[in-house]
Amino acid sequence: MGARKTGIGSDMQWSEALAKKIRCHVLKMTHRAKSAHVGTSLSMADLLAVLYGGVLRVDPSSPDWPDRDRFILSKGHGCASLYAVLAERGFFPLAWLDDFYQDGSHLAGHVTHTGVPGVDASTGALGHGLSIGCGMALAGQRDSQSYRVFTLLSDGECDEGSIWEAVLFAPHHRLDNLVAIVDYNKIQSLGTVKEVLDLDPLAVKWESFGWAVREIDGHNFGEIEDALTNLPIRTGQPSCVIAHTVKGKGVSAMENKLLWHYRSPDEEELRQALAELELSE
């Protein structure tokens, strides 16, 4: 799917097909690697598909293009999805996905900047991505650059104090080239967000700090595309898109199940999951 041009706006069918490919890759990768974080990789798949399906101005043949839109996966544990979409877009060969999590692979179990084309920051220590994005956005603003900076956060990550330092900072500097997307799947490592450390009312919190906020269904392609192609939400303010998502989305046995934060699919679970995804064609 690498031939698609970048930054040309919405193409829902293409993005939906890309999302399905991401999910299939994620399931195979986590099965093969016996790695965790399937649920979180699936909840963000549709968001990534729309971003890399046309929203982001990036060039796979020139991953360090200075004018590119930046994308930071601040929730670095969702790396399988990111690697899948980068490979599908041709940033590196699809064959790299086979080595995910393995000895000597570039594709580590959390996102690492070094040696992976298309990755703009090392993440996985939660709470860094939005701050890195603030630096990138401020540099771009001061130099009148046209690039935008997108950061994808997890809901559990919003427990980190450093996130709120950045949330306070961005509106102060009127960083309307900065976009924070929260993958609000409502489940973190050991319980629901509500049980562990309740974030609600999340939109009100971001708004009160000075962000322009939009809440969407993070699996409705029309809503995602509309939100991510009409940016900034308000001129002079950073944009926050709170995407209400379902952990494990796309595989009914995994949806909304805490178990799938850490569990990886065995042979039979993989077969069933892939069959379900094919049927949804």
Binding site: P66, T114, S122, G135, A139, G140, R142, L168, F169
Partner: protein, 331 residues
């Protein structure tokens, strides 16, 4: 035996002209940081400066006044400050991020390791008010672990200038160097060690005084104390070599090995905990290459409290006298 204070104006192992002069106070190394930043602002439009609402103290305000569009006060939010510096660096800027060392290094270690060190970004960090010489403000403000923290980050460069001349030159060097650099500055004015115009190279120690019986390897404000100690040893018949190890990482191992081989004993002196600081790094090089007796002058398993810098240096054994005692145990 050489009497009087000795000054080196050439790199180690080169011929060193020695001059003698009286103690003369210079600016604080933090002042030199501010002056160097203001110069860098003129020389390189990519230099930006970030500060954690203490620019009057770190002296980055000197840059802010000249280049307000390239100066950012992040407020009291050091984690955001450090990661944002990484963001600037990844976009081709040369960010200098400054705050008190206690906050810049100790509060943000996770950001330092994953936002800066792991991707090896071109971020410069300057921690001021290091060690205990900030005095009366007390333990919460005193960074006595910052060198250990910085040195343990892979491929970090760690600079501890001993006077304003060294600080100004090393800050300029840091701007030209590709990769993360931590610069440690002090609050009080410090005696001049070097003559104006002295040049510095990252990773090349300065031999300040020749000697054959023992070597004192010192950093920061302890360099002056080491020179004083060498003077006090003249009457004792101990010929002391003094080295300013302004770059703690990468360590000038050649200078350390030569000292071990040629003088047979080494004392390190630092305004920092002896765990994980200069002494630990020198000891590693000595043990691996040419083991000799060593003694360590520095804070020993303790924090300090309020006091004048002189009172605190006396109480915690960061004086020429304490260095002499250490020398006598290894000679």
């Amino acid at each position: 035996m050489i009497r009087g204070r000795t000054y080196l104006v050439k790199n180690y192992l080169e011929e060193f002209p020695v001059t003698t002069r009286e103690k003369k106070m210079g600016l604080a190394t933090r002042d030199a940081y501010g002056l160097a930043l203001a110069e860098l602002g003129k020389e390189n439009p990519n230099v930006v400066v970030l500060d954690g609402d203490v620019s009057g103290s770190t002296k980055s305000r000197m840059f802010a006044k000249e280049f307000p569009d390239r100066f950012f006060n992040f407020g009291i939010a050091e984690a955001n400050l450090v990661s944002a510096a990484a963001g600037f660096a990844s976009c081709g800027k040369i960010p200098f991020a400054s705050s008190f060392s206690a906050f810049l290094m100790c509060k943000t270690y996770d950001q330092l390791r994953m936002s800066v060190a792991n991707p090896h970004l071109n971020v410069k960090l300057c921690g001021s008010h290091s060690g205990i010489s900030l005095g009366q403000d007390g333990a919460s403000q005193m960074a006595v672990e910052d060198i250990a923290l910085a040195c343990s980050l892979p491929k970090f460069t760690v600079l501890v200038p001993s006077d304003e001349i060294a600080a100004r030159a090393l800050v300029k060097r840091a701007a030209k160097y590709q990769g993360p650099v931590f610069i440690r500055t002090s609050r009080p004015n410090t005696p001049l060690i070097y003559a104006p115009g002295e040049s510095f190279e990252i990773g090349r120690a300065k031999l300040l005084r020749p000697g054959k019986d023992v070597t004192v390897i010192a950093i920061g404000m302890m360099v002056w104390e080491a020179l004083e100690a060498a003077e006090l040893c003249v009457d004792k018949g101990i010929d002391v070599r003094v080295i300013d190890m302004h770059t703690v990482k990468p360590l000038d191992e050649a200078a350390v090995i030569a000292a071990a081989k040629e003088t047979g004993a080494i004392v390190t002196a630092e305004e920092h905990l002896i765990d994980g600081g200069l002494g630990s790094r020198v000891a590693q090089a000595v043990v691996q290459n040419h083991p000799v007796p060593m003694e360590f002058v520095g804070l020993k398993n303790t924090y300090a409290e309020s006091g004048t810098p002189a009172q605190l240096f006396e109480r915690y054994g960061l004086t020429a006298k304490a260095i002499v005692e250490a020398i006598e145990t290894v000679c």
